[in-house]
Subunit: 393 residues, 2 copies
């Protein structure tokens, strides 16, 4: 699929393949069991919806490639990948690409790896430079096809654009796309949010700190680490999942200062004097929908608060971070059963207290049963039912 | 190397292989160029030191496997990997393992992948359950060999233990290791820091939030995401690099609440009433070295403050996040040269202001030169020299 946009036939063919059922069955052979568990846990209402979504990733480098792998493992419906660069050994300091892929285009190498990981994802590889006129036109054209490869006559066929590029020009070009929301991962070379073209509702994930003295310049090699890149990709895709599947709070701007583990957040406002007419049009549309968004945000905040209140009520043992045990007249036998091989009283502890954990001598001598602690908690199914009832208001 | 600890001959053989030179040459074929750039940038004094370090990773699952890959790509000297589990398709919702590895032990699959990524890293695979008496003894024995495979007669041959296990028993067993520092990644199932066995100086990276209602129970499948696991692995290895290579601030405790992108930090104190005698001994030793540590921490804080002050002084354009241009009498020509294809004045802007970016019409029509923005900044070499001089006090 390299060397430009795939034909409509290609795209249609790639989607015609049989996808595996997204099952919630708890068996080792089910690649989706731990994702579908997000439903049972009451975190995501309808996880299967992820198959309906198309995400475009512009820039398949240290951040974009890891974001692509995460979305692929999550079972995203379709990924559109854009990059004109080739894999080099100098890229091995970040996750994803392997030395044997050196010399391949990044988009083709990514499709090779991602297909192996999850053949259910529709992958489109666009090996092109979007900052050329031809590349930009192809880029815009590719965004107007839906998952079946059908042209949508100017309407967007992509739900979200992830901007993971490493240079200013490409970021400015992505900013020209006004037809769908976009999240930007600011890489380590580039630290100036392009405020004058930021679209209303756009979200930003920004890396800074460890490499803030880094510049991208001819003949100068910029430092980067697999840690920082992986963290940024993780925060970006976490935000993407929250945005697409409707859970948690979607961050508008989240920074990461690696040297001090500091994560600044802020609200970003659109520029009412933006020179991009399309941006101004989106700003007016965004302003018009503000009451509806405010109401939805309020409802979500209330839902989360209620969820937390419930969790605080029901999670007496789950959340007991300090291992404090209350000696209730009704409960001592039950509590003591949690660690069967602990003496029922400990001579050197004040009356009414006992150790939840065996002391080191006991631990050294005994083989610890792998089932000792798993039955300690309340009836999970019951709690889930309560939580779901609360969530469905 | 599967099925227990490697013999001393095996270990010696694996280290005898020729490692590639850790070069800072900026060429595409150099896998270390972007790591060694951390030295040139003044962030790490001596990056090559990473080859002297041995890190043990206990638990090669959603967090441990990604941590292993990150350290491998960073060129760590030696990794010791412990797990008794096999790869299943149900693990494909997290990074690292591939479907074709299903059925392999996690340690063998990890060694296979990591060797391909960076053959310079010495990898030791321990396929064993450390919570059995036999497994624990082997585990402790393996920690007393150095990188050449030589026994150290009880002294530790490992610089750091990363605890990436998913159950309480294993975490308690890792807590028994008193001979070297350890960082713990609390996975999503387990949220109670084991305060009564935490050793002085231990560091914690904790995930919570999105899966806080998750429990590990027989027949119940716990939810997890590649995002949360990847972020935790990234934070853990970032902290590891800071600890081993001596840069930035090493976090004592860092949490991640995924639903709200909240990252709580705190200091953790050892328990003076701990039942583990070895822990109490370490507490006394740690207390004795407090003055030296305080002095080092103060010096590091001062170094960072000085570095920041310098960065603030020299980075007028690098740090200009809001694209504000000061019109100095001496500078207008220079500033305007930054974007050659912008008109020198814009009719609809107040006097004295001009656009740094082309407006959308210009951008649509022109092919953007990929070199337009790269020469804008000051003399990097000069700034680096200043910074290095400052760092060397």
């Amino acid at each position: 699929m390299a060397g430009g946009e795939p034909s409509e036939q290609d795209a249609a063919k790639s989607v015609a393949k049989e996808k595996r059922v997204m099952s919630s069955e708890v068996v080792d052979s089910n690649p989706y069991s731990r994702l579908m568990a997000l439903k049972r846990m009451g975190i995501v209402d309808n996880y299967e919806r992820i198959r309906d979504y198309s995400v475009a990733i512009v820039g398949v480098g240290g951040v974009g490639s890891v974001a692509a792998e995460m979305l692929t493992r999550c079972g995203i419906g379709r990924l559109l990948l854009y990059d004109y660069d080739t894999v080099e050994l100098a890229n091995m300091n970040r996750l994803f690409f392997q030395p044997h892929q050196a010399g391949m285009t990044k988009t083709d190498a990514a499709v090779q790896t991602l297909t192996g990981i999850n053949p259910d994802v529709v992958l489109e590889s666009y090996t092109q430079n979007i900052t050329t006129v031809e590349g930009f036109n192809k880029f815009m054209g590719s965004l107007t096809r839906n998952m079946k490869g059908e042209r949508l006559d100017g309407k967007s066929g992509v739900d979200l654009v992830l901007s993971c590029v490493d240079n200013y020009e490409a970021r400015m070009v992505v900013n020209q796309v006004q037809s769908q929301p976009c999240m930007q991962a600011y890489d380590l070379f580039f630290r100036r949010p392009a405020m004058n073209l930021v679209k209303p509702g756009w979200n930003q994930v920004v890396a800074s700190g460890i490499d803030e003295k880094t510049l991208k310049r001819e003949g100068v090699c910029a430092a980067s680490l697999p840690t920082t890149m992986g963290i940024i990709a993780g925060l970006l895709v976490q935000n993407t999942l929250k945005y697409l599947l409707g859970f948690g709070v979607v961050s508008k701007y989240l920074g990461y200062s690696a040297l001090k583990d500091f994560f600044p957040t802020m609200e970003m406002k659109p520029n009412p004097q933006c020179t991009n007419n399309s941006c101004l049009q989106r700003q007016r549309e965004f302003e018009a929908t503000k009451p509806a968004r405010d109401a939805a945000a309020k409802a979500e905040a209330e839902r989360l608060a209620a969820e937390e209140a419930l969790a605080a009520t029901v999670s007496l043992h789950e959340e007991n971070e300090w291992n404090i045990c209350l000696m209730d007249d009704e409960e001592p036998k039950d509590v003591r059963e949690r660690v069967p091989d602990i003496p029922s009283s400990s001579g050197n502890l004040p009356e009414g207290l006992f150790r939840e954990l065996p002391d080191s001598e006991v631990l050294d001598k005994s083989v610890i049963s792998s089932e000792s602690f798993v039955d300690a908690e309340g009836d999970l199914e019951d709690l889930q039912r309560q939580l779901e009832a609360l969530n469905s208001f």
